[in-house]
């Protein structure tokens, strides 16, 4: 180990997190940044590695949608045959500097946000938010879904890319996040303030673009309608920051948390890119009319990178508007949740102070040791997918990261350090 103590190593990791300078610089087709997507039929997915046959309904549904979108198949049946027949290569988003929401399915031509972390020069990518209802990330793959993805590829992506080119040096995300957290966002369940800030920042540039007026109006309308638009920007931001922090190859700070519907995976700073997995839990929460806990798919998606960064469920207290998801108690429960999360974190991130938390900063640096010591598992705010493919979102709620991942990580690290 390069540090005198674990605490010192962890301090170095959290200094990387607070010192990061993420900027939104571009939107490009995924294949432009992720070379692996150019080698035949390749799909990225959420969570730690998983095989087709182990994927739950929503992820399989997304894969089928992506095959149709990329034109690899002309019918869902054909797509399924290819997927089941091993014609498609699967790679976790996390392995190629990317993150993906819910199923996380990302294919070559989907536009992705490019977030650059200026302190370390690394980049991270995430597909754009499709809005709510029938959407690919929840496993829907009807023509409506494919058409929207095409529109995002041909209109939305290039428009935002062109607008960003007009900015001097991209959008300073730390500033936008700091503003939005004081406006009631926790960046996982609630992104409405950040999405509005994004719209406020980008519109002056969009109006300057030389483009079709109908398309300009559609883009502005889509951004105005999509409350969770910023979530995917936040995910790429969190990934860029936590990947930079991973350069410190010592310590017990959690650098990634993600789920594939079957396994929950984490990484810790001292163990590089190794995953430590345990079976995922199923989220508990509020359901849309007509659905119940019975319909809930097990926990899925890379969006827990936001909790890794210290927001989302960790920052529940910042978002009184979504506290009902943590129980009937409301504000007091949200406060108790964030206070509990602070117990397993090393410090507070003074870049993002939370007014409702007496201006304490958001949680900073989940210490796997504290998780194991206290048995307090990180809480994740999450959308809940229907366990059947293609039916989309059925509710939203919270879920816990299984303790077992953290135990395995610490055990492996103790072995690596020759302590046991």
């Amino acid at each position: 180990m390069n540090y005198k103590s674990m605490d010192e190593a962890n301090k170095a990791v959290i200094d990387k997190i607070t010192g990061s300078a993420p900027f939104l610089v571009d939107v490009v087709p995924a294949k432009d940044k992720i070379k692996e997507l150019n080698d035949g039929k390749v799909l990225l997915h959420a969570g730690p590695p998983i095989k087709w046959e182990d994927m739950t309904g929503p992820m399989q549904g997304s894969c089928i949608g992506a095959s149709l979108y990329e034109g690899w198949a002309s019918s869902p049946e054909e797509a399924e045959k290819q997927l089941a027949g091993g014609e498609v290569t699967f790679i976790p988003c996390h392995h190629v500097n990317a993150v993906g929401p819910m199923g996380g399915i990302t294919s070559a031509n989907m536009p992705v946000f490019v977030v650059e972390n200026r302190t370390d020069g690394n980049e991270a990518y995430c597909i754009m938010n499709e809005g709510i209802g029938k959407v690919l990330r929840f496993g829907a793959n009807s023509q409506e879904v494919i058409d929207r993805l095409k529109w995002m590829q041909n209109v939305l992506g290039p428009t935002i890319a062109n607008a960003l080119k007009l900015t001097e040096d991209g959008l300073n995300l730390n500033v936008m996040i700091a503003k939005a957290i004081t406006m009631g966002d926790e960046f996982h369940q609630r992104n409405i303030a950040a999405s509005l800030i994004f719209l406020k920042e980008i519109s002056p540039y969009i109006v300057q673009l030389d483009m079709d007026e109908k398309e300009r109006k559609d883009v502005i309308q889509f951004l105005a309608d999509t409350d969770q638009f910023f979530l995917n920007v936040m995910m790429a931001t969190s990934k860029a920051v936590m990947d930079a922090a991973r350069q410190i190859q010592d310590g017990t700070v959690v650098t990634a948390m993600c789920r594939n519907g079957k396994d929950f995976g984490i990484r810790i700073s001292g163990m590089g890119d190794e995953w430590f997995t345990a079976p995922v839990n199923t989220p508990q929460g509020l359901f849309f009319t007509g659905f119940s806990q019975e319909d809930a798919n097990p926990d899925i998606g890379d969006s827990a990178i936001t909790e890794t960064f210290g927001v989302g469920g960790m920052a529940m207290i910042a978002a009184p508007g979504v506290t009902r998801f943590v129980g009937a108690g409301g504000f007091d429960d949200a406060l108790a949740t964030s206070n509990e999360m602070a117990e397993i974190c090393i410090s507070h991130n003074s870049n993002f102070t939370i007014p409702t938390w007496d201006f304490q900063g958001a949680c900073l640096g989940i210490d796997a040791r504290k998780v194991v010591e206290t048995g307090i598992e990180p809480v994740i705010n999450t959308g809940i997918a229907n366990k059947k493919a293609g039916l989309g979102q059925v509710g939203a709620g919270t879920v816990r990261a299984p303790k077992e991942c953290f135990e395995k990580a610490l055990e492996a690290y103790a072995v690596k350090l020759g302590l046991i």
Binding site: M6, T374, E407, Y413, I420
Partner: protein
Amino acid sequence: MLHTIIKKNSYQDSINLMLLTNSVSTMEGLNKVQIMMATPANKDIFKDAGLHTDELEAAESNDMAIVMDTDDAGMVDKVLEKVDQYLKDQSISNKKQGFETVRTWDKAVDALPNANVAMISVPGQYAADEADKALDRGLHVFMFSDNVSVEDELRLKKKAHEKGLLVMGPDCGTGILDGVPFAFANVVSKGRIGLVGASGTGIQEVSTIIDHLGEGVSHAIGTGGRDLKDPIGAITMMDSIRALENHSQTEIITIISKPPAEHVRNEVMELLQSLSKPVVAVFLGEKPTEYVGNVYQAYTLAETAHIAVDLARGNEVKPDYNSGDFTVENTNLKDGQKTLKGLYSGGTLASEAAVLISDALGLGTHIKNEEGYVLKHEGHEIVDLGDDKYTQGKPHPMIDPETRSKFIEQAGADASTAVILLDFVLGYGSHDDMASALLPSIKKAVAAAEEDGRTLHVVATVCGTKNDPQSYDGHVKELKEAGVIVKETNNEAVRTALNIVGLHVEDNEKKHVEGGKSDKKFDLSVSDDIASLVSERPRVINVGLKGFTEALEDTGTQFVQYDWRPVAGGNARMAKILSLLK
């Protein structure tokens, strides 16, 4: 047939679950029920109770396990409902708390950066580790936890002494620091008498009598019962004595202990004789014959309090405070009714009773605790029901009347019993109304004896003050109305009981002699941390039992509640790995 309910990840502390078990046991239709966390140790307890099931075996340390034996499967839901209601009521009462609750040491220290005392009431096997962590953070330790090894105690006390800190305990049941009651303690007026005691109810008895006599206590520092024994050598006692010597508001120093190891006794005595302040000492089981120099040795706890009060007031100290008229008229005993049954919840009160009875029987004043009996001789029995023997898997008899109720009924059924002797210890931590809780059994025992043609006498002492959370006067009144003879001190109660069976204690007239000063020079200085412990209001991190915060809240003391749980849920392998990843 056995039924099991497992509540995953639902941690409650053991006292809570024992009280819950008691409450659920009263339900009709249950043969037996046990509610505990499903730790490996508790699983053995289930096994012993014949309540072991496969579901229980599969449960983990952070799961709450309810196993019941019932012939009516419908009881399962009723029990679950009752349990949920109990836990829910608790969460409602928790909700309005005005203090901060944390789950780690780091957060505790963040929440109360100027804390100076950690009150530790975690299970014994974990207590030493937590005390270590407290000392590392520069905190004095009040260690309520018992079952701590003597090796750990010695190590912790040495470490504390080197750092200029105090370890009060382990097994320290009581304490008062600057008027703030710790654990099982009474609301005693503040004053100029400082106590240091190696026994819980000894401190409670002396401090409440001082309060009755119109004086008050500056501090009452508990040391834990083994402090004056080998190999500890009175480390805490001596540091505490120095602390009180340096504390200007303390004018009289009083120490309370069972007889110490001989060389420890000599060393402590030498230290006491080198002090500038008058000292009252009681070593229960030693019957002193004189007062030497500035050290006034007493025979009983009541005498200790009386001497301290007279010294504080500048009155001349009398040669004896113990003797008096304890006659009871119309005892109306049958021929075989000769024996005393002392059923005590306070260990030191039980010892004091044993010493006096043993003395009256001509057996000397040295007593031994064997199997929970502090005295067992020709039918006379003095039982310390707070002894480990009776508290395995059950709350202490100061909290829970159950065990004592059984003993009272048994004693009443014994045709040789003339007198049942009882103590009612009030104060924080104790049962809300033990008089009402025990009276049904007392009345039952008296009535059963009467049916058998015997008059059964019940003599009791109430250890408490008028400012205690329970009603002192109410206790006395309720007991008297039920025919119980109530005495102000344990000394009087025991002598009254002895009188009923025609026995009495010869007391020594103690002369005051000069001398005792040794040539040895003692360093009487104390560390800054100890000096501020006695000169300032304590600021407390309460590690463990939440009930102890009641006294802290009522006295407006700054504190933070640390909802302690075993490291890594009691998983020994993970705890080891955590200790290596530093």
